[in-house]
């Protein structure tokens, strides 16, 4: 028996991180935010983005945090993976999150940001032809996700439903 040893690399809110070989990528407490993992299963490199908002065009900030928005974070994610040796044609994706935490009856567009985040992520992945192999999206629960670069499984934990692998 060998003991598996790996590092868990934490991905913060509006953040982007990479892992290779046996290491894991983990982000905690996804609500309306979406966790996007893109990886090359054979080369064993992976990147995880924790995106908060769909579109950087809505930003009024001077020092834009590129990792906050789906439209700016995901291109960096793909480019960096390629630089790290991933093969573009082999890239796959898994996504989780995009919940609506508060059931508010309001016309405020911010309150359905989870659904809009998911739309933006899927639109980008479709455009660059990266297939989504599995997803756990929408609903009204927070999620913590952890991706194993070793076996490409994404574990998704919620408070009420425990942990599942997708």
């Amino acid at each position: 028996m060998t003991t598996e040893t790996y590092n868990i690399i934490k991905v913060g809110i509006a953040d982007l991180q990479f892992a290779r070989d046996a290491d894991h990528l983990r982000t905690s407490g996804l609500g309306s935010c979406v966790g996007v993992v893109i990886y090359d299963p054979n080369i064993k490199v992976a990147g995880m983005a924790h995106v908060m908002l769909p579109d950087s065009k809505s930003a009024k900030q001077e020092n834009l945090n590129m990792h906050k928005y789906a439209d700016t974070s995901l291109p960096i994610l793909v480019d960096t993976l390629i630089k790290q040796g991933a093969r573009r044609f082999a890239l796959k994706a898994k996504i989780a999150g995009g919940a609506q935490m508060f059931a508010f009856s309001s016309s405020n567009d911010m309150l359905r940001v989870g659904a809009r985040n998911v739309e933006a992520v899927k639109a980008f992945l479709a455009e660059v032809r990266i297939p989504i192999l599995s997803e756990d999206i929408h609903g009204s629960s927070g999620r913590t996700i952890e991706f194993s670069t070793e076996n490409s499984m994404l574990s998704v934990r919620t408070v009420n439903k425990g942990t599942k692998e997708i």
Binding site: I13, A59, G142
Partner: protein, 211 residues
Amino acid sequence: MAYFESLTQFQLDTLKEVGNIGSGNAATALSKMLNQKIDMYVPSVRVVNYDEMMELVGGPEELITAVFFRIEGEAPGNMFFILSPREANAFVRQLTGIEDFSVTDEDNNEMGLSALQEIGNILAGSYLSALSDFINILMQPSIPILTVDMAGAILAEGLLELSQVSDSAIVIDTMIDDHRDDTDPIKGHFFLLPDPDSFDKIFSKLGVSDQ
């Protein structure tokens, strides 16, 4: 335009003072409701970034009890009142006499949950009416929404408006002391997240806008 990162100590002290007025009102309301002496005070007002905000409540994966309000009126924004499940349970048990109440128990806790929502409502209402009297800007809380889930998932939702202009938020720490020997003061947090445009309105009314 100045956002949180550039708030002066004087502006923060002003917010803390308003916080103490508001929590004084809230304590009076709660004392009447519980029929015992309750004190509330604001030990500090801070500007924190997202990750610090998560750490304040135990990390993004920590289970928290949050009452969320949309602030409506002339200076709209978001507001949270946050307790740990343990503190929320103690509070509700005391208020309702339901000895086995637990926020995480899905059955038969409707009465307790609505009591908790009501506590949140009183506190937020008192705080906001103090603030709005003090600065003469109309602000009212929406219907409270109670959620028990991971801190990251809940708090990020309230940060969305703000996050388009800033990566920080204002935290008004609140201590609730029920003067009983067997219990520590309950530590609650109010997170006040004015929408970007509201911020300048509040400070110009306070007479402490940027020199």
